[in-house]
């Protein structure tokens, strides 16, 4: 019980007549990688958006490190160390790498009433932080538009590690990646775990998450239809369970 970094109890959420979540229990232990699986529209992103405070639940409770929380905005959850990496909302393409890395958490130096951003220091840190996840940065002034999908995920993960996130949520991190890049991103995720960060990996592709996950949680039509330790199940079994819950034979 105490080892849960996040625990959600009986979460319900409706949008108009659509019941997106019908009483879902969900938890992540410390230093655990959880694969959150389900077909499109299963309620995965709604659950996560409630977790980070983007939406408020109609019913149910959220506990972070054992304390009850009621996040009103993603900003609040980010302050406590919950870092979310959305597919398209992680980086600003036209901005240099170092500005992206520190966006919203710039290092500043105060001189009288003015505060300046510490450009040199930030550029240096970016190079080191990216090195830590195994990517050598040529020039931190380069915009992130030229980075590959895998490198972009790496920036977001390196950012979470550097800023001391406790829980990292990755929304379909491998959806648009090549096989080689997917493998690299999985390595970054394991690297994050080594540093004591818990990870929620949202995907609808079991094969991407199976390699790294400790536990797999299955959502379908707003309900939890499965919660397995990875060692107890095979990918095929998971696939069949999702398909059965979705009514496909």
């Amino acid at each position: 019980m105490k080892d849960f970094i996040i625990e959600m109890k009986n979460i319900k959420k409706s949008f108009g007549k659509v019941q997106a979540l019908r009483g879902v229990d969900f938890h992540v232990s410390r230093n655990e990688i959880v694969g959150l699986l389900g077909d499109n529209g299963a309620g995965k992103s709604t659950l996560i958006k409630i977790l980070v405070g983007y939406y408020q639940p109609d019913d149910g409770e959220v506990y972070f490190e054992g304390r009850k929380v009621n996040f009103k905005s993603p900003w609040q959850s980010r302050q406590l160390g919950i870092e979310t990496v959305y597919q398209d909302l992680a980086l600003v393409n036209l901005m240099p790498l170092w500005r992206n890395f520190f966006l919203g958490r710039e290092i500043i130096r105060k001189i009288g009433p003015f505060s300046w951003i510490e450009r040199r220091k930030m550029k240096r840190i970016v190079i080191d932080a990216m090195n830590d996840v195994g990517i050598s940065v040529r020039n931190p002034d380069e915009t992130v538009a030229f980075m590959s999908g895998g490198e972009r995920q790496a920036v977001a993960i390196a950012r979470a590690i550097y800023f001391g996130a406790k829980l990292l949520i990755l929304d379909e991190p491998t959806a648009a990646l090549s096989v080689g890049e997917t493998k690299k991103v999985l390595q970054h995720i394991e690297e994050a775990k080594k540093r004591g960060i818990s990870v929620i990996f949202i995907t609808h592709n079991i094969y991407h998450v199976y390699e790294v996950a400790d536990r797999l949680v299955l959502l379908e039509r707003g309900e939890k239809v499965g919660d397995y330790l990875k060692k107890d199940v095979t990918p095929q079994y998971i696939m069949d369970t999702i398909a059965a819950a979705a009514g496909v034979r």
């Binding site: 905005s73 993603p74 900003w75 980010r78 979310t84 959305y86 398209d88 909302l89 992680a90 980086l91 600003v92 393409n93 036209l94 901005m95 500005r99 520190f102 966006l103 919203g104 710039e106 500043i108 003015f114 505060s115 300046w116 951003i117 450009r119 002034d141 915009t143 538009a145 030229f146």
Partner: protein, 313 residues
């Protein structure tokens, strides 16, 4: 190539080309006095362009700057002509300009209609008020005052104080954009609004502040013009909003936000002023000026887009 990463590179090359061309066409062009004069002429447009540029980088538009450019000196002239202190009048008209920006911003963000529409409506509203209040007649300043000399008076030769203000304001906002956290947030807000919000940037506040900066600078620019002529016409500043956008775009600022430079906007405004001045000195009829600017704008936008694709994606 590192020099392509300088956002103002295209505009600088463009200005160099015109400088050389006009120097050949007229031997009166490349004189200190004429260049000072050109810079002064650029200042009134350029001060607006700085604000427009800031706002465009954060992803919004302001079409009401031309109207504000006329409203601010109009309010100033009416107040001063009614024996009110010029310092109080200055304060009131700058606050009014800022308030117009605030309304533009709040209406745009709270209702979700595009700023193009909000500020178009605002422009029409104030143009109407201007005509209604003045009955279409210009207002002439009824007394002399030292204060106005520091806005548009002569420094030396063709150089006026407005040019000095122009350079100070450009440097000030260059620092804000490139060296402060607020600048970082402005780029992020215009570059990827969703990401900025997801990372906790107060994007709405950033936009509203930029609306206010933009409008205040337009009012200030109007005062520098008024300081030069001591007369304000209700049609003053018409189409200036479009020239200000043109200056920013020539300087490399992206219409859709997230990329740009106020130094570029300065160069853009200087380029427009240089072409106007150079064509007259070269003996071309003044009518050609607009046609020429139109072509330059399109060529500049194409070149800037090419360069940007290479260095920034």
């Amino acid at each position: 190539m590192f020099f392509l990463r300088i956002k103002e590179f295209g505009a600088l090359v463009g200005m160099a080309v015109f400088f050389v061309t006009f120097s050949f066409l007229s031997n009166r062009f490349a004189t200190v006095d004429n260049l000072m004069n050109t810079l002064t002429m650029a200042a009134e447009l350029g001060i607006i362009a700085i604000g427009v540029c800031m706002l465009m980088i954060s992803g919004e538009f302001d079409l009401s700057v031309g109207a504000v450019f006329a409203v601010a000196p109009m309010v100033f002239a009416i107040m001063v002509n009614h024996k009110i202190s010029e310092y109080l009048a200055l304060l009131v008209c700058l606050i009014l300009a800022a308030a117009i920006g605030l309304i533009n911003g709040v209406v745009t963000l709270k209702t979700g209609i595009p700023s193009f529409i909000t500020t178009l409506g605002m422009m029409m509203f104030w143009r109407g008020i201007l005509l209604a209040v003045t009955g279409g007649f210009p207002i002439i300043l009824s007394r002399r005052m030292r204060m106005l000399d520091y806005f548009g008076g002569r420094v030396t030769g063709g150089l006026r104080y407005s040019a000095i203000w122009f350079i100070i304001i450009t440097l000030l906002f260059w620092i804000v954009l490139e060296r402060t956290r607020y600048g970082n947030w402005t780029f992020a807000t215009g570059g990827n609004l969703g990401a900025a919000k997801a990372l906790g940037i107060p994007s709405e506040r950033v936009k509203i502040i930029n609306f206010m900066i933009c409008s205040t600078l337009a009012g200030f620019a109007g005062l520098t013009t008024f300081a030069r002529f001591k007369i304000v016409d209700p049609t003053l500043g018409q189409e200036l909003e479009l020239e200000a956008i043109a200056s920013a775009v020539m300087g490399g600022t992206l219409l859709t936000g997230g990329y740009g430079s106020v130094v570029g906007a300065l160069i853009g405004a200087a380029m427009i002023s240089m072409v106007r001045n150079g064509l007259v000195l070269a003996g071309a009829p003044a009518y050609w000026y607009r046609a020429f600017i139109g072509i330059i704008l399109i060529v500049a936008a194409v070149i800037n887009a090419r360069i940007r694709k290479k260095v920034a994606g």
